[in-house]
Symmetry: C3
């Protein structure tokens, strides 16, 4: 990859201070960058590195433009500029636009134009792959499932029957979409399985990380709306709904029938119990347990802060005495006030 700063400035609609003929070969952080590389400053904690970086150019906010010792691409949102320019340097292997001889494709499946299906993939009966779909090696698309235009499914993904995925989505390896929701009735101590009759409906421009599990609905569909981004190892139970552009970091678990609003950010390892509603714009900090509905936008937390274990043990022991301590405190106040 080689592209001039002038071409990058045009692509980003950025103002360029410096030589437009400089050739850029790659991207790097300020501290790692070498000559021929482009960097960016988005987090002011790294501002001092503007002086020391070896980068040939930096994407910066207008306020930092004067501090660059190399070429500067000036944008109000340098991080967004970095995101956009990253696509010019993508290393992801190009789709083959062909169907590998070892793939197994049902005669009743409908395959669009320019579809790529890698080795050992399986497309089951009545599945539909729209134009430009890419299916990775070893992935399975189940009966009646539909994958939208230009969606890329990486390797060893398992998509059950009656799953719908929209356009321009990315599904990373090992993810399972449409397995049975965890529904059982108890009959004299034994569990009776509730057949999971719904499907999964995933919108457009959704990205799902690796080794996630998104269960099918019990009667209606589990639903993930347009623009949602999910990191790795996330569990979405049956009948969950996730609103547009909500972001969820790795290892979150959302229990059945919970509705998460739009534009929420759920940090890593968060658990959300079932049958709750989270308003648009809810933010939950790492490893919190959301144990009741959130009706007001804002940040929510549970847990305790980290300590040295020997200090923590004392606090943890006292935690169990908290109710007793509160009552004694009240008794003293009464005593003093009398």
């Amino acid at each position: 990859m080689a592209i001039t700063l002038g071409e990058i400035a045009t692509y980003l609609q950025a103002k360029l201070i410096g030589d437009e003929t400089t050739v850029i070969h790659g991207l790097a952080t300020l501290s790692d960058a070498q000559a021929g590389q482009l960097s960016f400053l988005a987090n002011m904690a790294y501002k001092d590195q503007l002086q020391s970086t070896l980068a040939s150019a930096i994407i910066v906010h207008p306020k930092q433009a004067a501090e660059c010792r190399c070429a500067a691409l000036i944008l109000d949102n340098p991080y967004l500029g970095y995101a956009k320019v990253s696509s010019l340097f993508d290393t992801l292997p190009k789709a083959s636009h062909s169907i590998h001889a070892s793939a197994v494709i049902s005669e009743s499946a409908r395959i669009g134009k320019d579809v790529s299906i890698a080795a050992q993939a399986v497309i089951e009966d009545h599945a539909v792959l729209a134009d430009g779909v890419v299916i990775g090696a070893g992935s399975v698309v189940g009966h009646n499932s539909r994958i939208g235009r230009d969606t890329r499914v990486h390797q060893n993904v398992s998509i059950y029957h009656d799953v719908t995925i929209g356009d321009h989505c990315i599904v990373h390896s090992g993810t399972v979409i449409g397995a049975d929701g965890f529904g059982f009735a108890n009959e004299q101590g034994k569990w009776v399985k509730i057949r999971q009759l719904g499907g999964v409906a995933i919108g457009n421009r959704v990205e799902i990380g690796a080794n996630c599990t998104i269960d099918r609905g019990a009667m209606s569909d589990t639903r993930i709306d347009d623009g949602v981004i999910l990191d790795n190892l996330i569990q979405i139970a049956h009948n969950v709904q996730i609103g547009e552009n909500t972001a969820m970091a790795a290892c979150c678990k959302v229990a059945g029938s919970t509705k998460i609003g739009a534009n929420c950010t759920i940090s890593g390892g968060v658990g959300i119990i079932g049958h709750l509603t989270l308003v648009d714009g809810a933010h939950v900090t790492a490893m919190s347990l959301v144990s009741k509905s959130i009706t007001e936008a804002g940040a929510y937390s549970s847990g305790t802060a980290m300590s040295k274990t020997r200090e923590w043990r004392k606090s943890a022991a006292r935690f169990r005495q908290l109710d007793d301590m509160a009552k004694r405190l009240k008794a003293i106040e009464k005593n003093i006030n009398n």
Copy 2:
């Protein structure tokens, strides 16, 4: 699917109030149901919807029968009735009862009658599949492993060597059974692997969700007894034992050699440390850490309740001062009493 209310009443052994010739095409919640659909009332929070639902019939407890404006199927346990009737409407594609040409099956494997093996599956040496087994696309059954009668293994499941799975089990996609337990001895700072010589023994009527990991035992077998139900992304370490009919929700992690009793319910995200024993009938709430054995049936918890982050920060800071607060409280009490 089309079945009359009369047929459903017979199947459920339910009393029917209404027209037995009414045809039912599907199941839905009270709020979603349309004419031609059957619903149920199990959670009294939804009782008001008996008035407004468009369902053609509802499975209800005798106490609510009079409140239905449509046909009623009367059962003491409506939720169990719903579970049973769900199997009449199942959308899961039928097993093929055939072996796909692309599957790779060792000559030394023993394959029963009416077995289905989907595309790209692999059955390794000396594996045994009993009558009626269904193996999904891309799944691997390792050397010497045995799958019991009518058990269904979904797509891309990895079963290592010397694993035994009983009859009428379900294993969802992406699950790994029999990977090495995490056993290492330390030799001058470096880890020396302990070969994991045991297997995994899974009973009958066990359901295992998607992307779980159930490790093989160090010397004897990891053991999951009859009727256990596991949700997705659950980690079962080496030598764990789980008693009959215990239910475990998503993202639980059970460390090595812990023994969990029968009829326990472990909520989502719970961690259980190693070498513990949990008595029959232990119940653990979501995201708790079980840090010592449970010797008495009942409910157990750890963690803190959710707050707004700015409130939570104050509590978390004070948590670290708890021991100091407790000592000061005691000093005041002494002071006052003197």
Copy 3:
């Protein structure tokens, strides 16, 4: 497997008290062992079992040698002795040293000597497998990725492009290495994907459990150093670095750009937020959240201890009042001191 005590003593460089011609057929715990089996005593909680065990021999520390009623193999570190002897009894099926006819191997891939590639595996363009590599059924090695000498990759593993794995590593089933890091910039409420241009660099003698996810770096590589051991279902985000011989138990999640030192032990279910540094020799207890850098070796914790739920509810309610309680306590102290 049959081997004499004399041969085992020589292999372990252990002193043998007993008959060197005794034949050993397997390993077992003290309580499970039968005649013909070898056991060990590493945890003094089981010391009483020296009297009752049916084992034919026991690996013990010199201090316990006199208490054995059977043959004794004497070593300063009996657990390490057990680890070493376990390799003599390994049940893992031997590698085939052949390439299965159903495997799909790019013409541009470079395959070393004595490589085993199982059924349905896929080796993509320009991938390199060094001598002695074993690739399990259904696994995929992506473009340009390199697997070092004698490394074993189990079934259904997904390795993306530009991933490097060192020599003598083990990667368990279902693990995904090199999926995109979770990087997005926000443009007016919508997420713009940041292409993940780095790779993953894994050292030598690394073991990675089942269904883990190790993301590729944003611009440079995610890095796991020599001798690291990871259990199952672990999430390693982009640009994380893990130092030599660090051990991490199941279900840990490490957020982006965090650097973990060497010889750390991270217990199960721990979360570590992004952009932190953990010093060499940090130890974190189960399910803790590491919310700031650790600059001093030692043990760290967060969370609360387990209680009965009805007791816990009171503590959890009081936790929210902690700041108020602390202020009232201070007011009383002031009151008393005046």
